[in-house]
Symmetry: C2
Subunit: 328 residues, 2 copies
């Protein structure tokens, strides 16, 4: 069962997806739905082929669906309910179940950027899909239960609240200063220089001035590119290369695959954002030391005020050192 309900106090949609609790399918212990289906296997996986290179499959437990059921409750003017229209896909980064992306060649990252671009364009064409959100949950520390390297794509029937706020801020800034907020942010970060982790001719990776997580990293397009659709070959190569750099820096920091949530922010596919949407990726790793996690608790969840236990300048220096060591 999926549906969306309106919260009039925070003015945003909340999705219910109860079928994720009801899973009854009992595969063998070592079954992975994201590995290729071996010949004669009793339980077929999401990939009917004996091998693949990189793949996109439908999410088996989608929170948003093209033909969702009617909501379980009747809405009202104060408390609307709507079907959870949309689409949920899984992107399989590699056929290797125990693959580690930071050890893959840059070409695989470039291929991934091209695939993301294709899905952004294709899913964005449907009128229901106001925002195509590409993201990755990585590691048990962020709640991941399937370990095969993969990311996700949600096509939402609305612009999600965090992205809506960002776009509104950027729009206000454009009206007041005549410039894109993210272009100005990037200029400020480059001028200061202490929080830059890595950069190339098309993208810059930085621990943002206002980082909420100890090792948060944002990757901004150097030029004012609203979305993946605006990329040319140079941008695809440059983003792929910088993504690999950040993986190397992360995985070297505490000697093992860094858990994180990756969020890609770009222009909505509903026709808005022209002039003030600016492509960037945000990575939030929950680790604040090798063995301590940051938990979101009273201040973050109840008041919305984040407390970061690290200075962004120090985190950036540590990540630069880690990247240098990994490149040697």
């Amino acid at each position: 069962m999926t549906e969306r309900r309106w919260d009039p106090t925070l003015q945003e949609w909340v999705i219910t997806a109860t079928h994720r609790q009801e899973r009854t399918f009992k595969p063998p212990e070592d079954y992975c739905p994201f590995c290729p289906t071996e010949e004669g296997a009793e339980y077929p996986t999401a990939i009917p082929e004996p091998d693949y290179d990189m793949a996109v499959v439908e999410n088996g437990f989608p929170s948003l669906q093209p033909d969702p059921p009617e909501p379980a409750v009747e809405g009202s003017d104060l408390l609307p309910a709507e079907p959870a229209n949309g689409q949920c896909e899984v992107v399989l980064f590699t056929p290797e179940h125990d693959g580690t992306m930071s050890q893959e060649p840059v070409s695989r990252f470039v291929k991934l950027v091209k695939l993301w671009r294709d899905r952004y364009e294709t899913l964005g064409e449907k009128a229901d899909h106001e925002y195509v959100y590409i993201f990755e949950n990585r590691g048990e520390d962020v709640g991941v239960t399937l370990h095969h390297p993969h990311g996700q794509i949600y096509a939402y029937p609305f612009v999600p609240p965090k992205i809506r706020t960002e776009l509104q801020s950027s729009r206000d800034h454009l009206e007041e200063h005549g410039r894109c907020l993210f272009c100005d942010l990037l200029d400020a970060e480059r001028e200061d220089d202490r929080r830059i982790v890595a950069e190339n001719d098309a993208f810059t990776a930085v621990v943002p001035y206002f980082a909420r997580w100890a090792y948060e990293v944002h990757i901004y397009a150097n030029d004012h590119l609203p979305s993946l659709k605006h990329f040319d070959e140079k941008h695809e190569r440059a983003l792929g290369s910088l993504l690999k750099d950040i993986q190397l820096a992360y995985d070297g920091l505490f000697d093992g695959e860094m858990p994180y949530v990756m969020a890609m922010h770009q222009q909505p596919t509903n026709g808005t954002g022209e002039g003030y949407a600016h492509f960037h990726m945000e990575l939030y790793p929950p680790k604040r030391t090798a063995d301590k996690l940051k938990h979101l608790a009273g201040s973050e969840l109840g008041a919305g005020t984040y407390i970061n236990n690290k200075l962004a300048e120090e985190s950036a220096a540590e990540l630069r050192e880690s990247l240098d060591a990994a490149r040697e």
Copy 2:
């Protein structure tokens, strides 16, 4: 080191509090800073007395301080930095290290409400303190490392973002409909009735229509009371009694102390909120089943869109049954 930095993309303050990482004090394994100091003890606790009933002490690692240091960075027009003015207190609910609040008599809850009221009024008098935020982080699942039953109070030098949004929504609703948003929400919940968990003559506990967490509970004042300051004896007794009911329902649900984050939302102490602030408490337990936690990941952290795996109506029914069983 503490400071606050402005995020111009989400338009909110982020606090850095690096000294929380630097703790060097090495007490014995069984040392609890929140127990009374025993006679002749080598390491004194936060309470120099041999016993206490309920107490408030300063937070030993405060994120906000009355005389904070200068920020580590120089701010700019685009990226301001400010000292982290404010105050952080710890409320000790009981002298018993292994105490369980749901087993305490109602009188202890009433005493706690009176103590909260006193701190709200006292901390709210200082001009620096725009919002007095009373909250509780409970259980290892929300990151708690000190198990002695306690809550916290932050006096913020700004109205925190989540509360600011709520107040703005309520203000807009008042202007449009001539009524407080929370009064209307409560009326809608009482008319529907399916999501009510418990109620008495002054407060109502409900799994809100738009719950983000499987067993989220909000406690609303039945009358339009802006803050603790507006309570009389009846309200203090009624809130204490309902708080105990919710603890009983929670602790009985999965047979053990329910972990949760509790957030108290009320009128800011900066003079705003008149007419549209409405006292309520919000409880967010991370458990979605006895042994499964809800993690905030890609959709919540990167897009701000929550996905709830339970229907609010079903959760409310389970909590009502749990409360009935506990009362028998």
